[in-house]
Amino acid sequence: MEALIQDLKVKIIEQLNLQDLSPADIGDDQPLFVEGLGLDSIDALELIVMLQQHYGIKIASPEEGPKIFHSVRSIADYITAHQKVA
């Protein structure tokens, strides 16, 4: 799980062009949207693309988005759960 979290931080920075940040700047449980990293709706779409491109996971239900993308750890949890199913 820790390796996946670190990998996710690197990929999030790359996918969202967060060039002022390093992986160490992103807390595992830090909220990604609004009061946390301040990501926006376009970033959310890019995160969906990232999951599909790099982890082969499609989000079936858009209502799950806020829960899945709450933090890096919640994304890692979702990936782990769905990769186990696969």
């Binding site: 969202l16 062009n17 967060l18 060039q19």
Partner: protein, 207 residues
């Protein structure tokens, strides 16, 4: 009579404000030039990195003209206008977006597949809420833009206008932005075709 109170040229690895070179970065591609300028001017606006190159160029020029040089509090936000033009519309980003269509299209690129998004980025940063227009010409149509901005000011649609040319296609980029107001400041020049031509030609001897 309107005045050009400040102007910015970006071309040939060089940025000049009011004819003074403020940044050069030879031997760099456009992406490195833009990120180098962002760091050099300590802009501190992380969304810059998410913008396409047309928006980055316009944003950078606007930043140099408006931040610390322009007292926007003199005007209501609704009196601040933007009138821009270029030759290649958003083609630079359109082509990049088209390349992503082979796989999963990029939403972040898609939102920049219109040329007037650069206007939106400048408006968000500097709270311009007045007249806005973006024109496409084969070349910088100075007579048209000069008359259009004069008319915007004379009609009262805006009291200050950031206008000019912002163009990019691959590694070719050309920016000529200027701030036009009714009241002159020290160093101002009259807003007319000849002065715009002089500003536009000011980096022609560059590398």
């Amino acid at each position: 009579m309107p005045y050009i109170n400040s102007w910015c040229r970006i071309r040939n690895h060089r940025i000049a404000v009011n004819d003074q070179t403020v940044w050069t970065a030879e031997e760099t591609d456009l992406a490195a030039f833009l990120s180098g300028a962002y760091r050099h001017f300590d802009i501190g606006y992380p969304k810059f990195y998410k913008m396409d190159r047309l928006s980055q160029l316009g944003f950078l020029a606007a930043e140099l003209l408006l931040k610390d040089r322009f007292d926007k509090e003199k005007y209501p936000a609704e009196a601040l206008g933007l009138v821009l033009a270029n030759a290649h519309s958003s083609l630079d980003t359109d082509a990049r977006y088209q390349q992503t269509l082979a796989g999963i299209p990029s939403p972040a690129l898609f939102v920049y597949t219109l040329p007037n998004i650069v206007i939106g980025e400048i408006c968000i940063r500097h709270q311009f809420k007045g007249e806005q227009a973006f024109f496409i010409f084969e070349t910088f149509d100075i007579p048209f833009l000069n008359d259009y901005i004069d008319q915007v000011l004379e009609s009262g649609a805006a009291q200050a206008v950031l206008g000019g040319w912002v163009d990019v296609l691959q590694e070719d980029y050309d920016v000529c932005l200027y701030l036009v107001e009714h009241q002159p400041q020290p160093g101002s020049i009259i807003h007319n075709q000849q002065n715009i031509r002089d500003i536009y030609g000011s980096l022609d001897t560059g590398s």
